[in-house]
Amino acid sequence: MSKSNFSRRGVLKTGAIAGAGLAVPTYLRADGHAGFTNAPQGSTVKIGFNVPQTGPYAEEGLDELRAQELAVEHLNGMGDGGMMNTFSEKNLKGNGILGKKVEFVTGDTQTKSDVARASAQSMIQKDECIMINGGSSSGVAIAVQGLCQEAGVIFMAGLTHSNDTTGKDKKANGFRHFFNGYMSGAALGPVLEKEYGNERQAYHLTADYTWGWTQQESIAASTEALGWNTVQDVRTPVGAGDFSSYIAPILNSGADTLILNHYGGDMVNSLTQAIQFGLRDKQVNGKDFTIIVPLYSELMAAGAGSNIQGVFGSMNWNWQLQDEGTKAFVKSFGEKYGFPPSGAAHTCYVQTLLYADAVERAGTFNPCGVVEALEDFDFDGMGNGPTSYRGADHQCFKDVLVMKGTEAPTNQFDTLEIVEVTPRAQVEYAPDHPMFAGGDLGECNPGA
C-alpha cells in the first residue's frame, strides 16, 4: 500500500472510477503533486479559527472569532479594508490570498488541550485548512502548535502569554504575535519604579500552572532588579474561586505590594477579594499597599469592575492607541459590532493579515515558504508601531503597553488607560535567555 502523510484529497481526483458500488481503488502519492499539506485547490483557500467558544474563556474566544471574520472580509475585499490600508506591506489587494478567496471554518477548543487538538485535527484532515489561528491559553497554544508542526500547517497563535510558547516549546511552524511574561515584566519594571520606588516588599499569588510560573518568574526577576524584595510566592489552584485563604496571610506578612499572576476569572475573583480584605486601604512599611496585575485584558477589566481602578498591568495592544493602524481597525471593528475590539481580537486579526501577506510575499502557500517570509520580517502600521518577527524563536517584538485601571471611567469601555508605551528595545531579550532556553525550533515542516 502506498502511503502518504496527511495527503491531499483534491489532487487525487484523477483516476477515480465508480464501479457498481465497488471502485477500483486508485492510490496516488500526494507528495509528487503539491509538496505540502492541504495545498489549496481551485479558487478558494481555507483557514481554521480554533478558539474557545465554551468554557471560561468563551467571551474572549468569541471576540477573537469576530476579529478573524473581519479579517477574512477585508482579505476578500469586503468592508473598509481595516488595517490593510495602514499595513506597511501593500501586497494584499482585497482579492483573497494569491487570488484565492478566503474561506474559514471555526472550532471550539473549550480551553482544553485535547479538545483543541481534536478540533485542529478536524480542520486539517477534514476541512483541509492550510493555517490554524487563535486560542486563548498557553497550554492550548502549545498543544496546537505541536500538532501543526507535525501535520505541516502554519499555526498563528492567538492569546498566549507564557514564555514557553516561543521558549522551550517553540516550533518552526508556529508564530506568536502576542507578547509574553518576560516582556510584561520588562515593561512594567520602570513604571513601577517610577510609581512605587525601589523598596517594595512584593507578595505573589500565582496560578499554579506553567503560565503562572513563567510570569511569576519574569515579574519577580524584573522587580528584584529594581531592588524590590519578593516576600513570598504562593501558588493557588486554578479555578479556586474563593481566594480568601490565600489572601488573608498577606495582611500581616509585611508585604506592601501584591502581584496577582492570575488570568481571567481567577484574576477577577482574586482582585475583588483582595480589595474586600481591605488590602488597598492599608499602610505597610509607611507606604500605601498596592496591587499589580501583570497581564490585563479588557474582559478581565470589565469583569473586575471598579476594583481595578489604579491597578497597573500590561497589555499587548489597546484600542485607545492613536496610531493610524489602530484607528482603522477600531473603526471597522466598532462599526461592525458596536464595541471596541479586545487585545485578543487584535492579535488574531493581525495574525490573519500577517499570514496572508507572508503567503503573498512567498508566492506560495507552502508552510516553508511562509516561515521564510515571516522570519525576521519587519513591518509597521498594525497598531504596535514598528514590529518584527524574530527568526530565532518566532516571537514578535514590538512596543508593550503599561496600563492602569481608569480612576474615573466615563463610559462602559473606559476601563483601562494607557500609562506608557514601553519601547520595544526595552523588552527585547536574547533568544537563549535562561527563561526561554531549552527549546528547539526544529525545521519547518511542509507535511505531505
Binding site: 487525487l12 488541550s113 479538545v115 500538532l147
Partner: protein, 396 residues
Amino acid sequence: MLGLNSRDFKLFIIVCIMALAAPILLNPFPTASAMGESFNAGYPALMQRFVIFGILVIGFNILFGLTGYLSFGHAAFLGVGSYAAVWMFKLLSYNVVPAIILSVIVAGLFSVVIGYVSLRRSGIYFSILTLAFAQMSYQLAYSVFTPLTNGETGLQVYNDDPQILMGENSPTVPHFFGLEMNAQSVVDVAGWSFTFQNGYYLSAVFLILAFYLSIRIFRSPMGLMLRAIKSNQTRMSYTGINTKPYMLAAFVISGMYAGLAGGLLAAMDPLTGAERMFWTASGEIVVMAILGGVGTLIGPVLGAGIIKYLENIVSKINDGILHNWFAFMPDWLDNALVTIIHPFIGKGWHLTLGLLFMAVVIFLPGGLVQGGQKLGGLFRRKKTDDAADGAKTPAE
C-alpha cells in the same frame, strides 16, 4: 463460532464490519457537498476517537454495566495510561507497542490500588471515593507533579529526549514497527473520497479485540458472578462466594481497558494533558455508557460515538454553514431557520448535548439500544415466536 453463540457472533460481525468499513460508512455524503462538509465524520482523527472512546466505555461497562458500581473517576485511568505511553515515547522510541503495553500495565496497577480502597464501600460512597481519587490525580498532575506530567502544557516528546531505542532512520512519529500511525491512503470514488489511515486501523483492531473480549467476559462465569453481585450481594456472600476479588477483578479489567484507550490516544497523538483526568471527563464516560445503554454489549460503542460526533461535528457548524444549507429557500425562511437553529450549533452544542441527555433518559431509560430494540420490535412484531428462544439471553 469463536466461542460465541450465534446472536453474539452476529453482533460481533456487525461491529467488525462497522469498525473496518468506518472510513466509508462515516462519509455518506459527497466530500464537496454542503452535507458532506458538515456531517461527514470519516476523517482519521474523529474515527480514532470513536473507536478509542468506544474501548474506554466498553471497559467501563464491564464494571458499571455488570456490577452496578458507578465509578466516577474512570478518566484517571485513561490519563495515567496516556502519560505512561508518552513516557515510553520519550524514553524508548516512537514504537507504539511498548507504549501501549506499559499504559495497560500502569493503569492496571493504578486501578488495583484505587479499586482496593474504593471497593471497601458501595453505592454513592464508592462513587465519591473514585471521584476523589481521580480529582486528586488531576489536581496533582496539573500542578505539583509537573516534572512528571509537564502540567498544563501537557506531556509531549521533545527533540532532546533520550529515546534510547531510536535508530538513525526510525520514524519520528508513533509507529508500529515502522508502520507510521499517521500514514494514510486516500481513495477517490466519484465525488467521494475515503481516507484509510494506519493509526485508525490499529485502534479499530484493538476495538474489535476489546469488544470480543467483553462479549466473552459477559458470557463467562465471571460475568454471571458480576451480574449476580449487582442483583443481590447478600445472597452472593451466603452462597459462599467472595465478592471482593470478583469486584476488584472487574474494576482492574475496566481500568486496563481505560489504560489501553489512554495508550492508544497517545499513540494516535503523542501529547497528553491533565484535563484528560478531570471529573467532567469521567462524567462524560458515564454519560456515554448510559446514553448507549448500560449493561448492553453494543451500547457503549454507540454512546461514545454519539457524544464524540456532537462534540466534533455539531460544534463546528456555524451560521455561515447554515445559510449555505438553506440557500435554496427564500431569504426570510432561510433567516428564520438559521435563527431557530443558531442556539443549538457551534458554541451552543452543549445545549444540544444537555437536551439530548434529558430526552434519552426521560424517554429511553435503557439508552439508545433500547430505542433500537423498540424500533426493531415494531418491524418484527410478527415473528414473536421466533424471539422466545433468544429473548432470555440478557444483555445484548
